[in-house]
């Protein structure tokens, strides 16, 4: 009976947050860990799906309230959880988890976080989170990271580590370590523009990235003086040069509930001076 209620809740779209149901799942999970491992495993997954869906709604609220860092951390956290679960579990489509993952990646694209710190290291010792055995694939304890054993997720705990170096990278393995500058702050204008156009977490939207002429080159004529002020004809000067273009992002909201406005120009760049 309870399983039906959980599956029904997980199948609802828009998401209906049911805190009492989540508490009930948690209580049943605790009981099942003692008496029924199969049920405990099933409840563990269902609980994760409920948490992911709840968190997705919260992220939308955070972004509306300009809590950018908190929202970013939550996005990265649920992204990691979904990818980890997909390693070992076929997630039913009706839970909309794949949809949520797709939108996490889209929202991340609108963040000005493009540089991250990353560690190079040697992991000298890892221990199995279930039994405490030192991890060695050739002498396996039988538990695998990312799998659920009697309602408990197996993770590997790093117990000895040699840090080799820290670097600034664009595509990190984990996205938590966002690079921040002491005298600058991130420019969230693009993200704000997107969030202003969305009424709720369920609106379908997409984006297209393009390169378009900068405003000063938009109406340049081949045989007229170049807008750069060189006194040469445009066709003999800046025409066709990469620096005459700027990045442009087009947001497409499928059935917009409010008007976004046309040709809105947003301040360029990842950073702003601190006020």
């Amino acid at each position: 009976m309870m399983m039906d209620t959980i599956v029904n809740n997980l199948s609802e779209w828009p998401i209906r947050i049911d805190v009492e149901l989540l508490k009930s799942v948690q209580n049943n999970l605790v009981q099942a860990k003692i008496s029924n491992c199969t049920l405990a495993n099933e409840l563990w997954y269902l609980k994760q799906f409920m948490l992911i869906r709840m968190q997705y709604v919260k992220i939308f609220d955070m972004l509306k309230n300009k809590q950018y860092s908190e929202a970013w951390e939550s996005l990265a956290k649920i992204e990691n959880t979904i990818i980890m679960i997909k390693d070992t579990f076929e997630i039913p489509q009706i839970y909309h988890i794949d949809y949520i993952l797709e939108y996490i990646h889209k929202i991340q694209k609108f963040y000005p976080y493009k540089f991250f710190t990353s560690r190079e290291e040697i992991i000298k010792e890892m221990k199995c989170g279930i039994c405490g055995t030192v991890v060695n694939p050739a002498k396996s304890c039988g538990h695998e990271a990312g799998r659920v054993y009697c309602g408990v997720l197996c993770t590997y705990e790093i117990t000895k580590l040699d840090l080799i170096s820290l670097a600034i990278v664009e595509n990190p393995y984990d996205k938590y370590a966002v690079l921040k500058l002491s005298d600058k702050e991130h420019n969230y204008d693009l993200l704000d523009f997107l969030m202003n156009g969305l009424s709720d977490a369920y609106e379908e939207w997409d984006y297209m990235e393009k390169q378009v002429p900068k405003p000063e080159f938009k109406s340049a004529f081949m045989n007229k003086p170049c807008p750069c002020g060189s006194n040469k004809k445009y066709k003999h000067c800046c025409y066709g040069k990469e620096y005459t273009l700027m990045p442009h992002i087009e947001v497409i909201i499928k059935n917009p509930k409010k008007k976004l406005g046309d040709n809105i120009i947003i301040s360029n760049g990842l950073w702003k001076d601190k006020e």
Partner: protein, 165 residues
């Protein structure tokens, strides 16, 4: 940059004892993973991050006996970028078709689960194919989308009579 490189080496000339013994002892019923010797100037043997997953995947999918060339202490090296790096594999020529197929499915599944684009994910891997007293050492660096084609080329080269010893 999608590059396959290969070179033929005599097993007896491999300097490291563990690696040499592992390769010379490999049979048609085994797959071995060999470590990187020395990482960023640090002594010792390390395997790329996530080798445990790859090891378990090969073990389950191939039904072969899996071994590590050095298994006293298992250390992993973690690098900065998002490349998928696999531990270098040692197989006989007979097992190569199974292993190449499994490499492709392991990487493809991994990329698709993360909802990433195969053309944007980079892969770095090495395979040592034992042929008699020699090995053909292959390396591939490039897009995950080119991996299947790369594995086909590797099999063709490995099967080429000119490399038989």
């Amino acid at each position: 940059m999608d590059e396959i490189k290969y070179v033929t080496n005599a097993i007896e000339q491999i300097e490291d004892n563990y690696v040499r013994e592992c390769i010379s002892g490999i049979t048609d019923n085994q797959i071995a993973l060999i470590p990187l010797i020395g990482f960023r100037g640090k002594e010792g043997y390390t395997y790329p991050e996530g080798t445990t997953d790859f090891f378990n995947y090969l073990k389950v999918q191939s039904s072969k006996d899996m071994k590590l060339a050095f298994d006293d202490y298992y250390n992993e090296n973690v690098m900065h970028n998002e490349w998928i790096r696999l531990a270098e594999i040692v197989v006989t020529c007979g097992v190569l078709p199974i292993v190449t197929g499994l490499i492709v499915s392991f990487i493809t599944d991994k990329v698709k689960r993360g909802k990433k684009d195969l053309q944007k994910v980079k892969v770095d891997l090495g395979i040592k194919v034992k042929k008699g007293s020699k090995t053909i050492d292959f390396s591939f660096e490039g897009d995950a989308s080119k991996l299947e084609e790369a594995m086909r080329i590797i099999m063709e080269i490995a099967n080429d009579d000119g490399h038989n010893s």
